[in-house]
């Protein structure tokens, strides 16, 4: 009993000292989206490790900022070697690792999934608080807001176009998703949402063609390597469908994570309207 009391008070002391220090100093991120938020909002000295995805040229927007920061494959063994005082992950990413780390007593913060631009602002604020970089977060939010307002104003005259998105394995993206909000921000009507599709859902090639969109957006997904999943996007009917219509190919790194880079995606989309 005495031993447990001792442990408990030791724990209280450490957490108290952590609070006093305020800014975590050895942050480990175990997922692409938190990697990028860390690189954008935290000081370089605060980052102990990022996930390997931070260096994926297809998916990472912040690839040039990674430098010599050590990378991890989100396994518990690797992570605890960095003796992190904060581990950040997106919700649903490496949930088994997160559970294990919590059992071992490491502080883990999970970022909820953002389904709108408004939620991205909330996420940035939250991330600023976690890492002790509130001011930088506020500045980033303000910059996003002014850029988005500028894009709205610049393309307000152009007509609203209908769009549908096609991604690997024949999935489309419907209502209640960040992608849907990006379409709205860029001045498009998402036909998948109008069909009653919510979230990510498979759509048959026939239904996709029959939806008769003004613009077809192809999502190259996680990889450029050959696979049956990406072969869906190479079906010749898509090339023929887009012969008289527009075709959008927004780089994955601009839209895979909720963050400031989505403004680039909105700008690309709005400019093509």
């Amino acid at each position: 009993m005495k031993f447990y009391c001792l442990c408990f008070s030791a724990l209280m002391l450490t957490s108290a000292s952590l609070l006093a220090v305020e800014k975590p100093r050895r942050i480990v991120s175990i997922g692409l989206c938190t990697d990028q938020l860390l690189l954008m909002l935290a000081d370089r000295e605060q980052i102990a490790s990022l996930s390997v995805w931070a260096q994926d040229e297809n998916m990472s927007y912040m690839i040039d900022a990674v430098g010599d920061i050590p990378l991890n494959r989100s396994s518990v063994e690797e992570i605890i070697q960095f003796e992190p005082d904060l581990v950040v992950a997106s919700e649903f990413v490496a949930w088994d690792t997160v559970k294990f780390l919590r059992q071992l007593g490491y502080p883990v913060k999970q970022m909820p999934v953002a389904t709108s631009v408004a939620q991205i602002y909330q996420q940035l604020e939250l991330f600023g608080e976690w890492t002790g970089n509130q001011q930088r977060a506020q500045a980033t939010i303000a910059q996003m807001q002014s850029r988005l307002a500028d894009i709205h104003a610049r393309y307000a005259e152009r007509p609203v176009k209908s769009v549908i998105i096609y991604s690997p394995n024949g999935f489309t993206i419907g209502a209640n998703t960040l992608e849907d909000d990006l379409f709205i921000q860029a001045g498009y009507r998402n036909l998948a949402a109008e069909m009653g599709i919510e979230g990510f859902q498979a759509i048959s090639l026939e239904k996709l063609v029959a939806s008769d969109p003004d613009v077809l957006q192809i999502d190259r997904g996680l990889s450029q390597q050959d696979s049956l999943a990406t072969a869906y996007l190479g079906h010749p009917v898509l090339a023929r469908l887009t012969r008289q219509r527009e075709y959008l190919d927004i780089p994955t790194r601009l839209r895979i994570c909720a963050g400031p880079m989505i403004v680039d995606a909105v700008e690309l989309m709005a400019a093509r309207r």
């Binding site: 990889s223 390597q225 050959d226 696979s227 049956l228």
Partner: protein, 334 residues
């Protein structure tokens, strides 16, 4: 002899129109209802419309591929049963299809398929050929059903494990989930691209198998008799095996491993061709095409959340049939 020839013609006169009817029916089935009349008019007038795109670019290659792959498997099943003189021989059961899938997987996921159009079906061919060679090494001249089936079990297990291994090492993050396609097969979302790359290999394989018809007839009387009838047994066997490997290899490389068609079809057809291997070949091809088209209509019509793989249906029908055949031949198994 004359009577039989008429019978063959009659059989084709029945099967060919039936195939065309099923094909036409398959073109009418899909995820959306379209005005087929308008679609056909637009195709004839070379006008691009939604209906035309759906019929010509999505449904037509899919249905044609289902027919071609089904025909290949039926024909190859009949050829293998004749060659091995064994009623349970079939590309899937004896491991040729898994061998072909392994070859195709290695070519496809390791970035080789883009180098030339023929590389993917060639990968399937080489894999199929390796599997057949293993079968011959294991079974040799034995006509024992048990030896053949056990060799098939072993080759299938090795093939399946190597497919999984190749997918695990592939760089694409999607690769591992796609094992379902390679093991169960599908023609969904396939286009004329896949059809064109497979077709030369399919046609070549069919020609080689059909060329061996008379040899298979002679072989029913035993190898010595075939030799005495003037056949170069070694050469004919090689032609037949290459034919099976080319066509099954190409079929699997674009549609995955669709099981049991090659087993069931020759058994259904055999009574109608007076148990003559040569006449069995063409008829098995036609019936195989018809059955796989029907299976593909079924997977599109069933209200499943994600579309079922073709191999699920063919195995559900074919595997009990396989058991039945084993029960029937139990006496000879001892």
């Amino acid at each position: 002899m004359n009577l039989k020839a008429v019978d063959t013609r009659l059989l084709i006169a029945i099967l060919l129109p039936l195939l065309l009817v099923v094909l036409a029916f398959a073109l009418g089935v899909g995820a959306v209802d379209i005005d087929l009349g308008k679609a056909i008019r637009d195709i004839v007038n070379q006008q691009t419309s939604i209906e035309m795109l759906i019929l010509h670019d999505i449904r037509l290659p899919r249905a044609l591929l289902a027919g071609l792959v089904g025909g290949t498997l039926g024909l190859a099943g009949a050829a293998l049963q004749g060659l091995l003189r064994n009623p349970l021989a079939e590309p899937g059961i004896i491991g040729i299809s898994n061998g072909a899938a392994l070859g195709a997987v290695i070519v496809f996921y390791y970035g080789l398929a883009g180098s030339a159009w023929f590389v993917l079906p060639l990968g399937g061919l080489v894999g199929a050929l390796l599997a057949v060679s293993c079968i011959f090494l294991l079974v040799g001249q034995s006509r024992s059903i048990i030896t053949l089936i056990l060799a098939g079990v072993a080759i299938n297990a090795i093939g399946g494990a190597l497919i999984a291994l190749a997918l695990n090492f592939a760089e694409s993050p999607y690769a591992m989930q796609e094992i379902v396609f390679w093991l169960l097969g599908s023609v969904a979302n396939r286009s004329f691209n896949e059809l064109y790359i497979a077709l030369p290999f399919l046609v070549l394989g069919w020609a080689m198998m059909l060329y061996c018809g008379r040899f298979l007839n002679a072989l029913t009387l035993g190898e010595e008799t075939a030799k005495s009838l003037g056949f170069n047994v070694v050469r004919m066997r090689l032609v037949l095996i290459l034919g099976v490997a080319a066509s099954v290899g190409a079929a699997v490389s674009v549609a995955g491993n669709i099981g049991f068609i090659g087993l069931v079809v020759p058994h259904l057809v055999r009574p109608f061709v007076a148990y003559e291997p040569r006449r069995l070949l063409l008829a098995s091809g036609l019936v195989g095409a018809i059955l796989l088209l029907i299976a593909d209509i079924a997977v599109q019509s069933l209200p499943t959340a994600a579309e079922m793989k073709l191999g699920v249906i063919t195995s559900l029908v074919g595997a009990p049939f396989f058991l039945l055949l084993i029960l029937k031949s139990r006496n000879t198994l001892q």
